[in-house]
Protein backbone atom coordinates (compact mmCIF):
# COMPACT_ATOMS: atom_id res chain seq x y z
CA UNK A 1 0.00 0.00 0.00
CA UNK A 2 1.54 3.32 -1.07
CA UNK A 3 1.54 5.95 1.68
CA UNK A 4 0.38 9.47 1.04
CA UNK A 5 -2.02 10.86 -1.51
CA UNK A 6 -0.99 9.84 -5.01
CA UNK A 7 -2.61 11.47 -8.02
CA UNK A 8 -1.94 10.03 -11.46
CA UNK A 9 -3.09 11.62 -14.72
CA UNK A 10 -6.18 12.96 -12.97
CA UNK A 11 -8.69 14.64 -15.29
CA UNK A 12 -12.04 16.23 -14.61
CA UNK A 13 -14.32 17.55 -17.30
CA UNK A 14 -17.71 18.78 -16.18
CA UNK A 15 -20.54 17.73 -18.49
CA UNK A 16 -22.24 20.60 -20.32
CA UNK A 17 -25.63 21.60 -18.88
CA UNK A 18 -28.48 19.63 -20.38
CA UNK A 19 -30.97 21.44 -22.55
CA UNK A 20 -34.52 20.31 -23.04
CA UNK A 21 -34.64 21.89 -26.49
CA UNK A 22 -31.91 22.84 -28.91
CA UNK A 23 -28.46 21.47 -29.48
CA UNK A 24 -26.43 20.07 -26.66
CA UNK A 25 -23.65 22.45 -25.76
CA UNK A 26 -20.11 21.28 -26.49
CA UNK A 27 -18.15 19.86 -23.58
CA UNK A 28 -16.14 22.55 -21.81
CA UNK A 29 -12.36 22.38 -21.42
CA UNK A 30 -11.16 20.09 -18.62
CA UNK A 31 -11.08 21.74 -15.21
CA UNK A 32 -8.23 19.40 -14.30
CA UNK A 33 -6.13 18.00 -17.11
CA UNK A 34 -3.85 15.00 -16.59
CA UNK A 35 -2.56 16.12 -13.22
CA UNK A 36 -0.01 13.92 -11.42
CA UNK A 37 1.38 14.73 -8.02
CA UNK A 38 2.04 13.28 -4.58
CA UNK A 39 1.11 14.61 -1.17
CA UNK A 40 3.22 12.91 1.48
CA UNK A 41 2.24 12.37 5.09
CA UNK A 42 3.86 14.67 7.64
CA UNK A 43 4.37 17.69 5.37
CA UNK A 44 2.46 20.65 4.00
CA UNK A 45 2.25 20.59 0.21
CA UNK A 46 1.07 23.64 -1.68
CA UNK A 47 -1.20 23.70 -4.71
CA UNK A 48 -1.09 27.07 -6.40
CA UNK A 49 -2.62 28.69 -9.43
CA UNK A 50 -4.75 31.63 -10.41
CA UNK A 51 -8.55 31.58 -10.20
CA UNK A 52 -10.00 28.81 -12.35
CA UNK A 53 -6.72 26.89 -12.43
CA UNK A 54 -8.41 23.76 -11.06
CA UNK A 55 -7.26 23.83 -7.42
CA UNK A 56 -10.68 23.47 -5.81
CA UNK A 57 -11.77 20.84 -8.34
CA UNK A 58 -8.66 18.80 -7.51
CA UNK A 59 -9.29 19.12 -3.79
CA UNK A 60 -12.94 18.11 -4.18
CA UNK A 61 -11.95 15.01 -6.12
CA UNK A 62 -9.60 14.05 -3.31
CA UNK A 63 -12.42 14.73 -0.83
CA UNK A 64 -14.70 12.34 -2.83
CA UNK A 65 -17.15 15.18 -3.53
CA UNK A 66 -16.35 15.00 -7.23
CA UNK A 67 -15.68 11.97 -9.40
CA UNK A 68 -12.66 12.07 -11.76
CA UNK A 69 -13.39 11.74 -15.45
CA UNK A 70 -10.20 9.72 -15.85
CA UNK A 71 -6.97 9.00 -14.02
CA UNK A 72 -6.74 7.99 -10.40
CA UNK A 73 -6.23 9.33 -6.91
CA UNK A 74 -5.43 7.18 -3.91
CA UNK A 75 -5.16 7.94 -0.21
CA UNK A 76 -2.78 5.50 1.46
CA UNK A 77 -3.52 3.15 -1.41
CA UNK A 78 -7.32 3.54 -1.16
CA UNK A 79 -9.02 4.69 -4.34
CA UNK A 80 -11.11 7.84 -3.91
CA UNK A 81 -13.92 6.39 -6.04
CA UNK A 82 -13.87 2.68 -5.22
CA UNK A 83 -13.03 3.05 -1.52
CA UNK A 84 -14.72 6.42 -0.99
CA UNK A 85 -16.17 5.61 2.43
CA UNK A 86 -12.83 4.52 3.85
CA UNK A 87 -11.11 7.53 2.27
CA UNK A 88 -13.64 9.83 3.99
CA UNK A 89 -12.57 8.47 7.37
CA UNK A 90 -8.96 9.46 6.67
CA UNK A 91 -9.41 12.90 5.21
CA UNK A 92 -11.19 16.14 5.91
CA UNK A 93 -11.66 19.38 4.05
CA UNK A 94 -11.61 22.91 5.38
CA UNK A 95 -12.71 25.51 2.88
CA UNK A 96 -12.56 29.26 3.20
CA UNK A 97 -15.67 31.20 4.15
CA UNK A 98 -17.94 30.39 7.04
CA UNK A 99 -20.15 27.76 5.41
CA UNK A 100 -20.26 24.09 6.42
CA UNK A 101 -21.60 24.68 9.95
CA UNK A 102 -25.18 24.93 11.22
CA UNK A 103 -26.29 28.40 12.27
CA UNK A 104 -29.05 27.26 14.64
CA UNK A 105 -26.79 24.99 16.66
CA UNK A 106 -24.13 26.06 19.12
CA UNK A 107 -20.45 25.64 18.37
CA UNK A 108 -20.22 22.66 20.68
CA UNK A 109 -23.36 21.08 19.18
CA UNK A 110 -21.95 21.48 15.66
CA UNK A 111 -18.81 19.60 16.64
CA UNK A 112 -20.83 16.94 18.44
CA UNK A 113 -23.07 16.55 15.37
CA UNK A 114 -20.15 16.02 13.00
CA UNK A 115 -18.38 13.82 15.58
CA UNK A 116 -21.43 11.55 15.50
CA UNK A 117 -21.41 11.46 11.71
CA UNK A 118 -17.72 10.55 11.69
CA UNK A 119 -18.39 7.92 14.36
CA UNK A 120 -15.68 9.38 16.59
CA UNK A 121 -15.52 7.06 19.65
CA UNK A 122 -17.87 8.35 22.35
CA UNK A 123 -15.18 8.04 24.98
CA UNK A 124 -12.99 10.54 23.18
CA UNK A 125 -15.54 12.77 21.44
CA UNK A 126 -16.22 15.15 24.32
CA UNK A 127 -12.53 15.51 25.09
CA UNK A 128 -11.82 16.09 21.40
CA UNK A 129 -14.52 18.77 21.18
CA UNK A 130 -13.03 20.56 24.19
CA UNK A 131 -9.54 20.42 22.70
CA UNK A 132 -10.69 21.75 19.34
CA UNK A 133 -12.73 24.58 20.84
CA UNK A 134 -9.66 25.54 22.81
CA UNK A 135 -7.46 25.25 19.74
CA UNK A 136 -9.59 27.67 17.70
CA UNK A 137 -10.26 29.99 20.63
CA UNK A 138 -13.99 29.33 20.91
CA UNK A 139 -14.20 27.80 24.38
CA UNK A 140 -16.02 30.82 25.78
CA UNK A 141 -18.48 30.84 22.85
CA UNK A 142 -19.03 27.07 22.82
CA UNK A 143 -22.61 27.37 24.06
CA UNK A 144 -23.59 30.27 21.80
CA UNK A 145 -25.67 29.72 18.67
CA UNK A 146 -23.51 29.97 15.57
CA UNK A 147 -25.91 32.51 14.04
CA UNK A 148 -24.59 34.91 16.69
CA UNK A 149 -20.96 34.27 15.76
CA UNK A 150 -18.89 36.74 13.77
CA UNK A 151 -17.61 35.67 10.36
CA UNK A 152 -14.18 34.88 11.77
CA UNK A 153 -15.68 32.82 14.59
CA UNK A 154 -17.70 30.76 12.10
CA UNK A 155 -14.59 30.14 10.05
CA UNK A 156 -12.73 29.05 13.17
CA UNK A 157 -15.56 26.64 13.94
CA UNK A 158 -15.30 25.31 10.37
CA UNK A 159 -11.65 24.65 11.04
CA UNK A 160 -12.51 22.74 14.23
CA UNK A 161 -15.11 20.77 12.26
CA UNK A 162 -12.43 19.80 9.76
CA UNK A 163 -10.30 18.37 12.54
CA UNK A 164 -13.04 16.50 14.44
CA UNK A 165 -12.16 13.12 12.93
CA UNK A 166 -8.41 13.57 13.52
CA UNK A 167 -7.78 13.22 9.77
CA UNK A 168 -4.60 11.64 8.47
CA UNK A 169 -4.80 14.06 5.54
CA UNK A 170 -6.17 17.55 5.62
CA UNK A 171 -7.27 19.40 2.50
CA UNK A 172 -7.18 23.16 3.06
CA UNK A 173 -8.85 25.30 0.43
CA UNK A 174 -8.16 28.95 1.27
CA UNK A 175 -8.49 28.23 5.00
CA UNK A 176 -7.52 31.70 6.20
CA UNK A 177 -9.93 33.55 3.92
CA UNK A 178 -11.61 36.28 5.98
CA UNK A 179 -9.66 35.60 9.16
CA UNK A 180 -8.04 38.32 11.22
CA UNK A 181 -4.24 38.35 11.04
CA UNK A 182 -3.67 36.94 14.57
CA UNK A 183 -6.14 34.10 14.00
CA UNK A 184 -4.62 33.34 10.59
CA UNK A 185 -1.19 33.24 12.24
CA UNK A 186 -2.49 30.84 14.90
CA UNK A 187 -4.01 28.64 12.20
CA UNK A 188 -0.68 28.50 10.38
CA UNK A 189 0.93 27.39 13.62
CA UNK A 190 -1.74 24.68 14.00
CA UNK A 191 -1.16 23.47 10.43
CA UNK A 192 2.60 23.35 11.00
CA UNK A 193 2.05 21.37 14.23
CA UNK A 194 -0.32 18.95 12.51
CA UNK A 195 2.23 18.30 9.77
CA UNK A 196 4.95 17.84 12.37
CA UNK A 197 2.67 15.28 14.02
CA UNK A 198 2.42 13.25 10.81
CA UNK A 199 -0.65 14.72 9.09
CA UNK A 200 -0.35 15.22 5.34
CA UNK A 201 -1.69 18.64 4.37
CA UNK A 202 -2.59 19.97 0.94
CA UNK A 203 -2.90 23.74 1.02
CA UNK A 204 -4.28 26.18 -1.51
CA UNK A 205 -4.11 29.83 -0.61
CA UNK A 206 -4.06 33.21 -2.25
CA UNK A 207 -1.81 34.40 0.58
CA UNK A 208 1.43 33.24 -0.94
CA UNK A 209 3.49 34.32 2.03
CA UNK A 210 1.49 31.70 3.92
CA UNK A 211 2.44 29.07 1.34
CA UNK A 212 6.10 30.12 1.46
CA UNK A 213 6.08 29.84 5.22
CA UNK A 214 4.34 26.47 5.48
CA UNK A 215 5.00 24.41 2.36
CA UNK A 216 7.96 22.16 1.86
CA UNK A 217 6.93 21.53 -1.75
CA UNK A 218 4.63 23.40 -4.09
CA UNK A 219 2.80 22.39 -7.27
CA UNK A 220 1.71 25.15 -9.61
CA UNK A 221 -1.18 24.44 -11.95
CA UNK A 222 -2.67 26.43 -14.76
CA UNK A 223 -5.83 25.47 -16.67
CA UNK A 224 -5.84 22.20 -14.79
CA UNK A 225 -2.33 21.10 -15.76
CA UNK A 226 0.90 21.09 -13.80
CA UNK A 227 3.21 23.88 -14.97
CA UNK A 228 5.88 23.89 -12.27
CA UNK A 229 6.82 22.19 -9.02
CA UNK A 230 9.52 22.43 -6.42
CA UNK A 231 10.27 24.06 -3.10
CA UNK A 232 9.23 27.73 -2.85
CA UNK A 233 12.90 28.72 -3.17
CA UNK A 234 13.38 26.52 -6.25
CA UNK A 235 10.27 27.91 -7.91
CA UNK A 236 11.35 31.47 -7.26
CA UNK A 237 14.88 30.84 -8.50
CA UNK A 238 13.58 29.00 -11.56
CA UNK A 239 11.71 32.00 -12.89
CA UNK A 240 14.92 34.17 -13.00
CA UNK A 241 13.01 37.14 -11.65
CA UNK A 242 15.11 40.15 -10.64
CA UNK A 243 16.42 40.91 -7.17
CA UNK A 244 16.00 44.59 -6.39
CA UNK A 245 18.86 46.34 -4.56
CA UNK A 246 18.18 49.85 -3.28
CA UNK A 247 21.24 51.81 -2.04
CA UNK A 248 21.03 55.25 -0.45
CA UNK A 249 24.11 57.53 -0.22
CA UNK A 250 24.68 60.01 2.60
CA UNK A 251 25.75 62.75 0.11
CA UNK A 252 25.95 63.19 -3.66
CA UNK A 253 28.99 61.33 -5.09
CA UNK A 254 29.40 61.75 -8.88
CA UNK A 255 32.22 59.19 -9.13
CA UNK A 256 30.16 56.60 -7.33
CA UNK A 257 27.21 57.24 -9.66
CA UNK A 258 29.45 56.72 -12.71
CA UNK A 259 30.85 53.51 -11.23
CA UNK A 260 27.36 52.17 -10.54
CA UNK A 261 26.29 52.88 -14.14
CA UNK A 262 29.38 51.02 -15.38
CA UNK A 263 28.54 48.07 -13.11
CA UNK A 264 24.95 48.00 -14.39
CA UNK A 265 26.10 48.10 -18.02
CA UNK A 266 28.63 45.33 -17.41
CA UNK A 267 26.12 43.07 -15.58
CA UNK A 268 23.15 43.89 -17.84
CA UNK A 269 21.14 45.23 -14.89
CA UNK A 270 18.39 47.84 -14.93
CA UNK A 271 19.40 50.97 -13.01
CA UNK A 272 17.55 54.07 -11.67
CA UNK A 273 18.86 57.14 -9.91
CA UNK A 274 16.59 59.31 -7.73
CA UNK A 275 16.45 60.76 -4.22
CA UNK A 276 14.78 59.45 -1.10
CA UNK A 277 12.32 61.38 1.06
CA UNK A 278 15.20 63.23 2.79
CA UNK A 279 16.74 64.30 -0.54
CA UNK A 280 19.63 61.84 -0.35
CA UNK A 281 20.85 60.27 -3.62
CA UNK A 282 19.44 56.76 -4.16
CA UNK A 283 20.30 54.11 -6.73
CA UNK A 284 18.19 51.05 -7.57
CA UNK A 285 19.50 48.00 -9.42
CA UNK A 286 17.37 45.12 -10.77
CA UNK A 287 19.03 41.90 -11.90
CA UNK A 288 18.22 38.15 -11.68
CA UNK A 289 21.27 37.77 -9.42
CA UNK A 290 21.67 39.52 -6.11
CA UNK A 291 24.13 42.36 -6.90
CA UNK A 292 24.08 43.90 -3.40
CA UNK A 293 27.69 42.89 -2.64
CA UNK A 294 29.11 44.19 -5.92
CA UNK A 295 27.09 47.38 -5.68
CA UNK A 296 28.25 48.29 -2.17
CA UNK A 297 31.87 47.46 -3.04
CA UNK A 298 31.66 49.61 -6.18
CA UNK A 299 30.18 52.57 -4.31
CA UNK A 300 32.70 52.43 -1.45
CA UNK A 301 35.68 52.11 -3.86
CA UNK A 302 34.41 55.16 -5.77
CA UNK A 303 34.38 57.20 -2.55
CA UNK A 304 30.65 57.08 -1.80
CA UNK A 305 29.32 56.89 1.78
CA UNK A 306 26.41 54.48 2.19
CA UNK A 307 23.44 55.40 4.42
CA UNK A 308 21.26 52.37 3.74
CA UNK A 309 21.05 49.18 1.61
CA UNK A 310 17.88 47.18 1.07
CA UNK A 311 17.65 43.95 -0.92
CA UNK A 312 14.29 42.62 -2.12
CA UNK A 313 14.56 39.10 -3.51
CA UNK A 314 11.75 37.88 -5.78
CA UNK A 315 8.86 36.32 -3.87
CA UNK A 316 6.81 33.26 -4.63
CA UNK A 317 4.00 35.62 -5.57
CA UNK A 318 6.27 37.24 -8.20
CA UNK A 319 7.13 33.79 -9.51
CA UNK A 320 3.47 32.68 -9.75
CA UNK A 321 2.49 35.90 -11.50
CA UNK A 322 5.37 35.47 -13.94
CA UNK A 323 4.33 31.90 -14.70
CA UNK A 324 0.73 32.98 -15.21
CA UNK A 325 1.83 35.70 -17.63
CA UNK A 326 3.66 33.23 -19.89
Amino acid sequence: MSAGIVIERLTKTFPPPRRVFGKRRPAPAPAVDGLSLTIPAGAVTGLLGLNGAGKTTTIKMLATLLRPTSGSATVDGLDVVRDAREVRRRINLIAGGERMVYARMTGRENLWYFGQLYDVPRATLHRRIGELLDLVGLTDAAGTLVERYSRGMRQRLSIARGLINSPAYLLLDEPTLGLDAPIARDLRAVVADLAAGGVGVLLTSHYLAEVEQLCRYVHVIDRGALVAEGSPAELTAGTRLPHTVELTLTDPAPDATKAVDALAARAGAEVWHDTDIDGRPRVTLRHPDDLAGELTTTVVRAGGAIARVEVSPPTLEDAILAMAAR
Binding site: F14, L65, R67, R88, Y102, D119
Partner: protein, 273 residues
Amino acid sequence: MSAAWRVVLAEALKQHRRIFGTKLVVFSMLVWPVLTLATTYYTILPVTAAPGAAERWPLVGEPQRLAAFLAAGALAYTFFFSLVQSAWHFSFERVSGTLEALFLTPASRLALVVANGSGALVQNAWLFGAFAVAAAAATGTLHVAHPGMYPVAVAALLVPAVAWGAFLNSLLMFSRDSAFLYTLLDDPLWFVAGVRLPLFALPLWVKAIGLAFPLTTSLAVLRGALLDGEGVRELGGDLALLGGLSAALFALTAVTLRVGERHAQKTGSLQLF
Protein backbone atom coordinates in the same frame (compact mmCIF):
# COMPACT_ATOMS: atom_id res chain seq x y z
CA MET B 1 -23.78 2.08 19.70
CA SER B 2 -24.00 1.56 15.95
CA ALA B 3 -22.88 4.28 13.60
CA ALA B 4 -26.38 4.50 12.09
CA TRP B 5 -27.98 5.07 15.50
CA ARG B 6 -25.48 7.84 16.20
CA VAL B 7 -26.52 9.49 12.92
CA VAL B 8 -30.16 9.28 14.06
CA LEU B 9 -29.30 11.00 17.36
CA ALA B 10 -27.32 13.70 15.58
CA GLU B 11 -30.14 14.40 13.13
CA ALA B 12 -32.68 14.47 15.96
CA LEU B 13 -30.68 17.25 17.65
CA LYS B 14 -30.36 19.15 14.38
CA GLN B 15 -34.11 18.90 13.72
CA HIS B 16 -34.85 20.00 17.26
CA ARG B 17 -32.65 23.07 16.91
CA ARG B 18 -34.04 23.86 13.46
CA ILE B 19 -37.70 23.54 14.42
CA PHE B 20 -37.75 24.86 17.99
CA GLY B 21 -36.43 28.36 17.46
CA THR B 22 -39.02 29.74 19.89
CA LYS B 23 -41.46 28.22 22.37
CA LEU B 24 -44.38 29.39 20.21
CA VAL B 25 -43.46 26.62 17.80
CA VAL B 26 -44.57 24.03 20.35
CA PHE B 27 -47.93 25.79 20.56
CA SER B 28 -48.25 25.93 16.77
CA MET B 29 -47.61 22.18 16.54
CA LEU B 30 -50.95 21.66 18.24
CA VAL B 31 -52.80 24.64 16.85
CA TRP B 32 -52.03 23.94 13.19
CA PRO B 33 -53.50 20.40 13.08
CA VAL B 34 -56.44 21.38 15.31
CA LEU B 35 -57.27 24.32 13.03
CA THR B 36 -56.96 22.03 10.04
CA LEU B 37 -59.28 19.55 11.70
CA ALA B 38 -61.82 22.24 12.58
CA THR B 39 -61.73 23.65 9.05
CA THR B 40 -62.31 20.21 7.60
CA TYR B 41 -65.12 19.38 10.03
CA TYR B 42 -67.06 22.56 9.40
CA THR B 43 -66.49 22.29 5.63
CA ILE B 44 -67.96 18.83 5.59
CA LEU B 45 -70.80 19.55 8.02
CA PRO B 46 -73.17 21.16 5.44
CA VAL B 47 -72.56 18.24 3.08
CA THR B 48 -73.63 15.79 5.76
CA ALA B 49 -77.02 17.48 5.91
CA ALA B 50 -77.64 16.79 2.23
CA PRO B 51 -80.54 14.42 1.49
CA GLY B 52 -79.39 10.80 1.24
CA ALA B 53 -75.93 11.50 2.67
CA ALA B 54 -76.49 9.26 5.69
CA GLU B 55 -77.41 6.33 3.43
CA ARG B 56 -74.19 6.64 1.49
CA TRP B 57 -71.98 7.44 4.49
CA PRO B 58 -73.55 6.37 7.81
CA LEU B 59 -70.90 8.23 9.80
CA VAL B 60 -72.47 11.60 8.95
CA GLY B 61 -75.29 10.83 11.37
CA GLU B 62 -72.84 10.51 14.27
CA PRO B 63 -70.96 13.80 14.76
CA GLN B 64 -68.51 12.37 17.33
CA ARG B 65 -67.53 9.46 15.11
CA LEU B 66 -67.30 11.79 12.12
CA ALA B 67 -64.94 14.03 14.11
CA ALA B 68 -62.87 10.98 15.08
CA PHE B 69 -62.72 9.90 11.43
CA LEU B 70 -61.47 13.33 10.41
CA ALA B 71 -59.09 13.56 13.38
CA ALA B 72 -57.49 10.27 12.36
CA GLY B 73 -57.11 11.75 8.89
CA ALA B 74 -55.58 14.96 10.26
CA LEU B 75 -53.22 12.98 12.50
CA ALA B 76 -51.94 10.80 9.68
CA TYR B 77 -51.71 13.79 7.36
CA THR B 78 -49.71 15.72 9.98
CA PHE B 79 -47.25 12.82 10.12
CA PHE B 80 -46.81 12.62 6.37
CA PHE B 81 -46.84 16.32 5.60
CA SER B 82 -44.28 17.07 8.30
CA LEU B 83 -41.98 14.82 6.28
CA VAL B 84 -42.66 16.78 3.09
CA GLN B 85 -41.70 19.92 5.02
CA SER B 86 -38.65 18.24 6.48
CA ALA B 87 -37.45 17.11 3.06
CA TRP B 88 -38.00 20.59 1.70
CA HIS B 89 -35.95 22.05 4.53
CA PHE B 90 -33.27 19.42 3.97
CA SER B 91 -32.92 20.65 0.40
CA PHE B 92 -31.84 24.01 1.84
CA GLU B 93 -28.66 22.37 3.12
CA ARG B 94 -27.37 22.80 -0.40
CA VAL B 95 -27.84 26.57 -0.13
CA SER B 96 -26.24 26.83 3.27
CA GLY B 97 -23.22 24.76 2.19
CA THR B 98 -23.77 22.06 4.78
CA LEU B 99 -24.79 19.42 2.22
CA GLU B 100 -21.17 19.16 1.09
CA ALA B 101 -20.08 18.83 4.71
CA LEU B 102 -22.56 15.95 5.12
CA PHE B 103 -21.32 14.19 1.98
CA LEU B 104 -17.76 14.63 3.16
CA THR B 105 -18.45 12.33 6.10
CA PRO B 106 -18.47 8.53 5.93
CA ALA B 107 -21.99 8.44 7.41
CA SER B 108 -24.43 6.16 5.60
CA ARG B 109 -26.52 8.29 3.26
CA LEU B 110 -29.57 6.10 3.86
CA ALA B 111 -29.14 6.48 7.62
CA LEU B 112 -28.90 10.26 7.12
CA VAL B 113 -32.16 10.64 5.23
CA VAL B 114 -34.04 8.13 7.40
CA ALA B 115 -32.74 9.90 10.50
CA ASN B 116 -33.71 13.28 9.12
CA GLY B 117 -37.25 12.08 8.42
CA SER B 118 -37.62 10.34 11.79
CA GLY B 119 -36.30 13.38 13.61
CA ALA B 120 -38.80 15.65 11.88
CA LEU B 121 -41.62 13.25 12.55
CA VAL B 122 -41.00 13.06 16.26
CA GLN B 123 -40.51 16.82 16.54
CA ASN B 124 -43.56 17.76 14.50
CA ALA B 125 -46.18 15.18 15.26
CA TRP B 126 -45.84 14.04 18.86
CA LEU B 127 -47.96 16.78 20.38
CA PHE B 128 -50.88 16.44 18.03
CA GLY B 129 -50.56 12.65 18.19
CA ALA B 130 -50.84 12.72 21.98
CA PHE B 131 -53.72 15.19 21.78
CA ALA B 132 -55.64 13.13 19.20
CA VAL B 133 -55.30 9.89 21.16
CA ALA B 134 -56.30 11.61 24.41
CA ALA B 135 -59.31 13.29 22.75
CA ALA B 136 -60.42 10.04 21.15
CA ALA B 137 -60.13 8.19 24.48
CA ALA B 138 -62.03 10.94 26.34
CA THR B 139 -64.92 11.01 23.86
CA GLY B 140 -65.19 7.27 23.75
CA THR B 141 -64.73 7.04 20.01
CA LEU B 142 -61.85 4.54 20.24
CA HIS B 143 -63.03 1.08 19.30
CA VAL B 144 -60.11 -1.32 19.41
CA ALA B 145 -60.40 -5.08 18.95
CA HIS B 146 -57.35 -5.91 21.03
CA PRO B 147 -54.72 -3.84 22.92
CA GLY B 148 -52.13 -5.30 20.54
CA MET B 149 -53.71 -3.22 17.80
CA TYR B 150 -52.32 0.00 19.32
CA PRO B 151 -48.70 -0.84 18.40
CA VAL B 152 -49.93 -2.14 15.04
CA ALA B 153 -51.60 1.23 14.37
CA VAL B 154 -48.52 3.16 15.51
CA ALA B 155 -46.24 1.02 13.34
CA ALA B 156 -48.62 1.37 10.37
CA LEU B 157 -48.30 5.12 10.72
CA LEU B 158 -44.61 5.43 11.62
CA VAL B 159 -42.83 2.99 9.33
CA PRO B 160 -44.43 4.09 6.03
CA ALA B 161 -44.14 7.76 7.09
CA VAL B 162 -40.40 7.38 7.70
CA ALA B 163 -40.01 5.51 4.40
CA TRP B 164 -41.94 8.30 2.65
CA GLY B 165 -39.81 10.96 4.33
CA ALA B 166 -36.57 9.21 3.41
CA PHE B 167 -37.71 8.91 -0.19
CA LEU B 168 -38.65 12.59 -0.40
CA ASN B 169 -35.34 13.57 1.20
CA SER B 170 -33.46 11.56 -1.39
CA LEU B 171 -35.38 13.31 -4.18
CA LEU B 172 -35.16 16.86 -2.89
CA MET B 173 -31.54 16.59 -1.79
CA PHE B 174 -30.28 16.38 -5.34
CA SER B 175 -32.72 18.71 -7.05
CA ARG B 176 -32.36 22.44 -7.18
CA ASP B 177 -35.87 22.88 -8.49
CA SER B 178 -37.74 20.91 -5.90
CA ALA B 179 -40.24 23.52 -4.77
CA PHE B 180 -42.85 22.16 -7.19
CA LEU B 181 -42.88 18.86 -5.29
CA TYR B 182 -43.86 20.74 -2.16
CA THR B 183 -46.90 22.14 -3.95
CA LEU B 184 -47.63 18.84 -5.66
CA LEU B 185 -47.64 16.91 -2.41
CA ASP B 186 -49.72 19.26 -0.28
CA ASP B 187 -53.37 19.48 -1.40
CA PRO B 188 -53.28 16.38 -3.64
CA LEU B 189 -52.07 14.34 -0.64
CA TRP B 190 -55.16 15.47 1.26
CA PHE B 191 -57.41 14.55 -1.59
CA VAL B 192 -56.17 11.23 -2.93
CA ALA B 193 -55.41 9.64 0.44
CA GLY B 194 -58.93 10.00 1.82
CA VAL B 195 -57.96 12.34 4.61
CA ARG B 196 -61.20 14.34 4.45
CA LEU B 197 -63.52 11.92 2.70
CA PRO B 198 -63.95 8.17 2.72
CA LEU B 199 -62.19 6.46 -0.16
CA PHE B 200 -65.43 5.03 -1.52
CA ALA B 201 -66.62 8.57 -2.23
CA LEU B 202 -63.70 9.21 -4.57
CA PRO B 203 -63.60 8.43 -8.30
CA LEU B 204 -61.85 5.23 -9.30
CA TRP B 205 -58.89 6.98 -10.92
CA VAL B 206 -58.26 9.01 -7.77
CA LYS B 207 -58.39 5.82 -5.71
CA ALA B 208 -55.84 4.26 -8.06
CA ILE B 209 -53.47 7.22 -7.61
CA GLY B 210 -54.10 7.17 -3.88
CA LEU B 211 -52.89 3.59 -3.60
CA ALA B 212 -49.41 4.72 -4.63
CA PHE B 213 -49.23 7.00 -1.56
CA PRO B 214 -48.57 5.10 1.67
CA LEU B 215 -50.68 7.65 3.56
CA THR B 216 -53.83 6.15 1.99
CA THR B 217 -53.22 2.67 3.36
CA SER B 218 -51.76 3.96 6.64
CA LEU B 219 -54.96 5.84 7.19
CA ALA B 220 -57.09 2.80 6.35
CA VAL B 221 -55.19 0.77 8.96
CA LEU B 222 -55.31 3.57 11.54
CA ARG B 223 -59.06 4.05 11.20
CA GLY B 224 -59.72 0.34 10.99
CA ALA B 225 -57.62 -0.50 14.05
CA LEU B 226 -58.58 2.41 16.30
CA LEU B 227 -62.10 3.38 15.25
CA ASP B 228 -63.68 0.31 13.66
CA GLY B 229 -62.37 -2.43 15.95
CA GLU B 230 -60.71 -4.36 13.13
CA GLY B 231 -58.00 -6.90 13.93
CA VAL B 232 -54.90 -8.07 12.11
CA ARG B 233 -56.95 -10.57 10.13
CA GLU B 234 -59.26 -7.90 8.69
CA LEU B 235 -56.38 -5.51 8.07
CA GLY B 236 -53.98 -8.17 6.77
CA GLY B 237 -54.25 -7.03 3.15
CA ASP B 238 -53.66 -3.38 3.99
CA LEU B 239 -50.76 -4.24 6.30
CA ALA B 240 -49.15 -6.36 3.60
CA LEU B 241 -49.60 -3.54 1.10
CA LEU B 242 -48.07 -1.07 3.57
CA GLY B 243 -45.13 -3.39 4.21
CA GLY B 244 -44.58 -3.74 0.48
CA LEU B 245 -44.89 -0.01 -0.14
CA SER B 246 -42.49 0.79 2.70
CA ALA B 247 -39.92 -1.75 1.51
CA ALA B 248 -40.25 -0.40 -2.04
CA LEU B 249 -39.79 3.17 -0.80
CA PHE B 250 -36.68 2.27 1.21
CA ALA B 251 -35.24 0.41 -1.78
CA LEU B 252 -36.07 3.30 -4.10
CA THR B 253 -34.47 5.71 -1.62
CA ALA B 254 -31.26 3.69 -1.57
CA VAL B 255 -31.14 3.66 -5.37
CA THR B 256 -31.99 7.38 -5.65
CA LEU B 257 -29.27 8.26 -3.16
CA ARG B 258 -26.69 6.22 -5.01
CA VAL B 259 -27.66 7.58 -8.42
CA GLY B 260 -28.08 11.12 -7.07
CA GLU B 261 -24.70 11.20 -5.35
CA ARG B 262 -22.99 9.76 -8.40
CA HIS B 263 -24.67 12.39 -10.60
CA ALA B 264 -23.69 15.16 -8.17
CA GLN B 265 -20.09 13.91 -8.15
CA LYS B 266 -20.11 13.96 -11.93
CA THR B 267 -21.65 17.42 -12.37
CA GLY B 268 -20.47 19.14 -9.21
CA SER B 269 -24.07 20.04 -8.45
CA LEU B 270 -23.78 19.65 -4.66
CA GLN B 271 -22.35 23.15 -4.56
CA LEU B 272 -24.88 24.64 -6.98
CA PHE B 273 -27.99 26.31 -5.65
